[in-house]
């Protein structure tokens, strides 16, 4: 059973077996991600628990045409962590907002495409030039704004922006090649 199918099994059957499978895969990764952002171990475990509970509750809203399991769970963990460190909830884009100008419906083969894109991305990330990879990692996994990265690395803000931009362009091209 793929990770995506496990989420779907939770939505369909409230499958605790599928939940346990997801937990085994994601919980230690989420813990690592959250601890990298400067959270102590106990709090990190709590945020992971909250994230996985949300995965269980929101499983029905997961759409494998829109996102891979790892992407969906990453966004939940990201928001849970922000909730933890900030007073109010993060203002979140609401896909059901009636004011949305509707996106075109995605074609039926999208899940396959998403999974291919994920695989390509993971490879592409590992072969980025180090100077770009470090900055992208800081932007995504060390909770640092471009400005903070610039000051940490003693680089001009413009240099940080352009290196991250280059890296993202490369990564996006990997995705677009498949579309």
């Amino acid at each position: 059973m793929s990770l995506e199918e496990m989420i779907e099994a939770i939505a369909r059957d409230q499958s605790r077996t599928a939940f346990a499978g997801l937990f085994a895969h994601f919980a230690p990764r989420l813990k690592s991600y959250i601890m990298r952002l400067g959270t102590d171990e106990r709090t990190a475990e709590e945020v992971v628990q909250e994230t996985m509970l949300m995965v269980w509750r929101k499983a029905a809203s997961f759409d494998s045409r829109q996102a891979a399991a790892s992407t969906w769970i990453f966004t939940i963990a990201r928001n849970k962590r922000i909730d933890r460190i900030r007073r109010d909830n993060r203002p979140e884009f609401d896909p059901n907002d009636p004011s949305l100008t509707g996106p075109a419906p995605e074609p039926a083969d999208q899940p396959v495409l998403r999974r291919q894109q994920d695989a390509r991305l993971r490879t592409a990330i590992t072969i980025l030039p180090e100077e770009q990879a470090v900055l992208v990692r800081m932007a995504f996994f060390d909770d640092m704004s471009h400005r903070e990265i610039a000051s940490e690395k003693s680089l001009p803000l413009g240099t940080v922006k352009s290196r991250i931009r280059l890296a993202l362009l490369r990564l996006r091209r990997e995705l677009e090649d498949l579309e």
């Binding site: 605790r16 991600y33 601890m35 628990q49 790892s70 992407t71 769970i73 907002d97 004011s99 993202l168």
Partner: protein, 213 residues
Amino acid sequence: MPRFHVQEDLLVDYASGSLPRPVALLVAAHLSFCDQCRREVATYETIGGAYLETIDPIPMAADALEAALAGLGDGNARPRPAPSDAGDARLPLSSFVEGRIRENSWTRRARGIEEIEMIAEDDHFSASLLRIQPGVSIPNHTHTGEELTLVLQGGFTDSRGHYGPGDVCRADADISHGPVADSDGPCLCLVVADGPVKLTGLVGRMLSPFLKL
């Protein structure tokens, strides 16, 4: 579809979760108008997901799964709360914005310009809603810090063009502009600025060099 978008680095920081809350609010509001930027954020979130797969796992406590299973309760489908009934205005981020409009009253900042503070200073940024009456112009001004203005309803024009719902107008110390609200109805904007908000409020701060407020 908006013509003026938020910069790419803000979309990256939004996707990774590192934006100050006021800026995240503005980006989220823009996303609710802009399919193109939504796709871009989705790409960055995919990168975040891919990183999650490549990270070195750290084992959870021995009883973590047991505790998680015990906390699940029955069922998983929670019905979405019905959208709030907010009269005429269907605003993006309805719960956040409309709630604050309901709970707060508008404060007059200048002739034809009113403000509701949304988020007081957070990571050096603050967010306010501005309501500008039809045809009101804000005198030509520059900014001490960076300021982002998102149109929620109505529109305005400055030297760079016309801004309608979803458009983001970026201004900093290098840009001098004098926005004029559209004449066919009030213009509702979300304004995010860096630097602490002075007692005079955002518009007061913008206007003060000119009007000696």
